[in-house]
Amino acid sequence: MSADPTQVLAFETDCHIFDGCGFPAPGLHSFLFEPLWGDADSNVYFNKTMLLALLGSIVIVGFFWAAFRKPQVVPGKLQMVAEAGYDFIRRGVVYETIGKKEGEKYVPLIVSLFFFIWMMNLWSIIPVAQFPVTAIIAYPAVLALIVYVLWVSLTFKRHGFVGFFKNVTGYDKSLGAVLPLAMLIEFFSNLLVRPFTHAVRLFANMFAGHTLLLLFTIASWYLLNGIGIAYAGVSFIMTVVMTAFELFIQALQAYVFVLLTCTYIQGALAEHH
């Protein structure tokens, strides 16, 4: 076992069960990376997640560049696949929630958000990378922040200052005596809690998913000794199952994120209820 537990992956050690060495459980340290370049203390550095984030952007842009650079009226295979994805978000998410007329403007943002998040999530199960970029809070946070800024400015633009306040607090006269309390709760919920939950929902899902994968992967290796081999088999099967499950969760979380984004935008555009 190396001196610094943050930098040791389970299979880099010869630590097995019955060898008198404890289980190297995954933890917060599994989500920290030594900078590939620069110094972590100086805030000027470059690490694996940053590399994956930028690489992911290039992959998405490359994919859509290849598919949509010279689109044909009669599409080829690649264009058809990309069109299916594009159409799914445009029709299935944006038009469904915001409507065709108002939503058209936000289609590029929502499509970009979906494919960006999906790609960042996908890194989790892509060999060698094997780390979901969105399991670092900074990435979901920046996306949630963009949505939050858009939502606030849209609400202001649409309803003015008083209207914004009414919209955010869910002002409704029919509530009567409960109105102040309802307004207070709504204010906190919409303006303060919502951007946080929006980011954390994605972050925590990916964080947990990665931890699960790590747990079973490390266990498969750790149990590979004596009678433990039988359990290692079970653990390995779980690794495969969880990988498939993660594949589903990754797409689902990207979908949930953009769906929420759309409902927020829709709420900003709607007449205050």
Partner: protein, 181 residues
């Protein structure tokens, strides 16, 4: 080892506090994607999707136009056919009528001609009969006179009387013939 882990975890930052450099990189990465998609790639595909929609709708419109044309042509054709049938029936009717009048005319003509011929024949026969009757009467008269003369031995000169006798005889003959009929 567990000691080490605990120490390491304590040193670690809160996972919910985003490090600034990663925020920046995250923003850059997303802006790259959004920029390319919003600037060029999605407008590109939207244009093509619109073209495709127009092409499909245009195709449908063309098909509809062709169908309407075919329908009108069919109706025209049907109308023409009905007209032709009507015309043919009319012609047939006319021909029948014409034929019928022709036949009646010809029949009338034939009748007339037959009657003419018959009448002419009757007249001829009558004339012949009259000529024959008068010739016969003269001959009979002469023969009878001669015979009587020879019997009497003298010539019967009194013509007036003679002819009256003969005439009377002949008239009696005729009357007998009339009665015997």
């Amino acid at each position: 080892m567990s000691q080490l882990l605990i120490v390491a975890a304590e040193e670690m930052e809160n996972p919910l506090v985003p490090p600034v450099p990663e925020l920046v990189i995250g923003l850059i990465a997303f802006v790259i994607v959004f920029g390319f998609l919003a600037w060029k790639l999605l407008p590109n595909i939207n244009k093509v999707l619109e073209q495709r929609r127009e092409a499909i709708e245009g195709g449908i419109e063309k098909a509809e136009a062709a169908q309407t044309e075919a329908q009108s042509v069919l109706e025209q054709y049907k109308a023409q056919l009905a007209e032709a049938r009507h015309e043919a029936a009319r012609l047939r009717q006319e021909a029948q009528e014409q034929g019928a009048t022709l036949i009646t005319e010809m029949r009338a003509e034939g009748q007339r001609q037959r009657e003419e011929i018959v009448a002419a024949g009757h007249a001829q026969i009558e004339a012949d009969r009259k000529a024959a009757a008068s010739a016969l009467r003269q001959d009979v008269g002469k023969l009878a006179t001669e015979l009587a003369g020879k019997l009497v031995g003298e010539s019967l000169e009194d013509h007036a009387r003679q002819s009256r006798v003969i005439d009377r005889f002949l008239d009696e003959l005729e009357e007998k013939a009339e009665a015997g009929r």
